[in-house]
Amino acid sequence: MRLFIEQLLNGIAMGSIYALITLGLALVYGVMRILHVAHAAVFTVGAYVGLFIFQATGSLALAFVGSMVACAILGVVIERFVYFPLMKYPPFVPLIGSIAVMLSIEEVCRLVAGPYILTFPAKLPFPDIYAGGIQISSTLLAVYSITAIVLFFLWYITTRTELGLAMRAASQDISISGAMGINSHLIVSITFVLGSAIAAIAGILVGIYYNQVYPTMGAVPAYKSLALIVVGGLGSVSGAVIASMLLGVAETLLIGYANIPLPRDALAFIAMIGVLMWRSEGLLGSSR
């Protein structure tokens, strides 16, 4: 039982990290119907910028803020200069553009910071908790807390503010919402700002969690988060979060109990195939 609970806690932490990375992708798909693969590169940039600010100032708070601002700007730049001009073409054109952006950003990171694994020796200010023989380490607690804060903030914005109303309207139908007086291009940009800032948080968190920052750290998240938004229901933010959590827990339990040497990443795609066969609109997607 103790082992099961520990594995569950490990799985939720894994799922939280997936959720933070996938959120931005789901948000962007919601309003633009674009598979924003380059989001994973924004995540990598977030980790690097956070690391450099941390090294320069020693302040983790500044690292988070600075990295979120940098990534928000990067997200908007990608939207304005890559996606917006490509919107008039069929959806695979922006997708190809996105892959190109992703690879370019990866290479820029390599050229600027070198090909090495850098370490992120910051300590997140959380305690270790022991309860009934079960230990929740400070890193797990940090991941839970930060994810919870981000999810709450996002929930508040999308459901309790006018901006959220506009975002939801834009995601239902961007041209009608434009006709209703919503500045839809502004909404798209704000979505990129939000998604990219969350990616920055995810980047720093992953960097500290594994104590590694390197140019290709976005490669696995890039394709995994694609599978996750399909499983969650394309464009559904809550679906993406639920899918991330389920996947994190399922992977961890599978490794913990079955010990089949199947790469954990394969599971996301098996789930994706299963969902597409059984419920092609995804867990929470609406059939359109």
Partner: protein
């Protein structure tokens, strides 16, 4: 504009002649090494170490009355690149011998080319068995998985006094060979007294080991053998300590890197590896190398660099003894090496298959550095 064109032309002519002149009075030794891509840190360590080796040989009067130099190409850890670059080393640069200073995948791809062209090649640290199987022109200065697995088991049982051992190995040829060697030793020497409580295999992309470690924690072993590169073992050690696992953790040469110490941080303390470089070696040439390397490059040396240094020096030593630059002569001299004193210990000989026979070094992390813990010299363990 015209001015720039002329300048460019002059520059090109200069480069062209710079590339061809001075070829006659230096002996060139080729080096394939990953300087970009995921293995870049190891590649740089190899290249830096070889620079020190070249300086030493030339300071000691060179070879056959000539200076020695190396020509290195970045294979980016890519077999396709490595094949083209191996051809370039042989056909264009006309090197006398080659140090294969890269990982297994590229080194395996180029081994048959060296064989075909009768080009003596020493793989510095690549571990795949196929490299030396390409033929008698290919030698290896690193341990096979089987040898290192047996040595690790010896350390776990004899030095760390393990009774309950958990294995956590990477899902590649090397990881599986290590596990095989480890279990072979336990079956042979530890029957009834030592038990392997679990064997888990993790995929190469794995970053999060908590699921594996929770299981290990439940089984409460006294030694964990965790194979893998520093970017895998580093997180394993760090996460295990975070989770409150107190068992000894034992790794292998993949973790022999200053990067391991950086990634694992304070958790690295007490971590043990089987490798081939002893940081507390008393011999003056080793001390000098360790000190020079650290002061020049500002980072601690590792087994990858030291192995490449030895590979290079053994080639030079063979050229000297062969008194020839012909491939077959150098090959014969390499095959006849006996008790060569290298940075990575005394090279007793190469087996007829080209595998090195030398002691396995055991190192432990103390105060953020690898230190000597012991040595495995039982011939039954170290002979491939």
């Amino acid at each position: 504009m015209k001015c720039i064109k002329t300048l460019l032309f002059v520059l090109m002519v200069c480069i062209f002649f710079a590339g061809t002149s001075g070829a006659a009075d230096t002996i060139k030794i080729g080096l394939l090494v990953p300087l970009t891509g995921p293995a870049a840190a190891d590649g740089l360590s190899v290249q830096n170490s070889i620079k020190l080796a070249v300086e030493r040989v030339n300071a000691e009067g060179g070879l056959l009355g000539k200076k020695v130099d190396f020509i290195s190409y970045d294979d980016r850890m890519d077999p396709k690149d490595a094949v083209a670059l191996a051809r370039k080393l042989i056909e264009q640069d006309k090197v006398a011998a080659v140090v294969a200073g890269s990982y297994s995948a590229p080194s395996r791809a180029v081994a048959p080319i060296f064989q075909e062209e009768k080009m003596p090649a020493v793989a510095a640290y690549a571990v795949h068995p196929d490299i030396t199987k390409a033929g008698n022109y290919n030698f290896r200065n690193g341990f096979l998985g089987m040898v290192e697995g047996k040595a690790a088991a010896y350390v776990a049982v004899k030095m760390l006094k393990g009774k309950k051992i958990a294995l956590l190995v990477s899902d590649n040829d090397f990881g599986r060979e290590l596990a095989k060697g480890f279990k072979y030793y336990i079956d042979k020497y530890g029957k009834g007294t030592v038990s392997i409580v679990s064997q888990q295999v993790y995929s190469m992309q794995e970053k999060d080991f908590k699921a594996y470690l929770s299981k290990i924690k439940e089984q409460n072993p006294d030694v964990i053998f965790s194979s893998g590169y520093y970017f895998q073992t580093g997180p394993v050690v760090k996460q295990a300590r975070e989770m409150g696992i107190k068992a000894h953790i034992l790794g292998e040469e993949g973790a022999d890197s200053p990067k391991f110490l950086e990634i694992a941080g304070a958790a690295a303390e007490g971590f043990v590896i089987v490798t081939n470089l002893n940081r507390d070696d008393k011999r003056p040439e080793v001390k000098k190398f360790l000190a020079t390397y650290e002061s020049r490059y500002g980072i601690q040396p590792d087994m990858v660099g030291a192995s490449a240094y030895d590979a290079f020096m053994m080639i030079c030593d063979s050229i000297k003894r062969a008194k020839s630059l012909k491939g077959p002569d150098i090959r014969a001299a390499l095959a006849g090496i006996k008790d060569y004193s290298g940075l990575t210990g005394l090279v007793k000989k190469f087996t007829p298959e080209g595998e090195v026979v030398k002691d396995v070094q055991v190192q432990i992390v103390r105060k953020g550095r690898f230190r000597n813990l012991g040595v495995v010299s039982d011939p039954d363990i170290i002979t491939p």
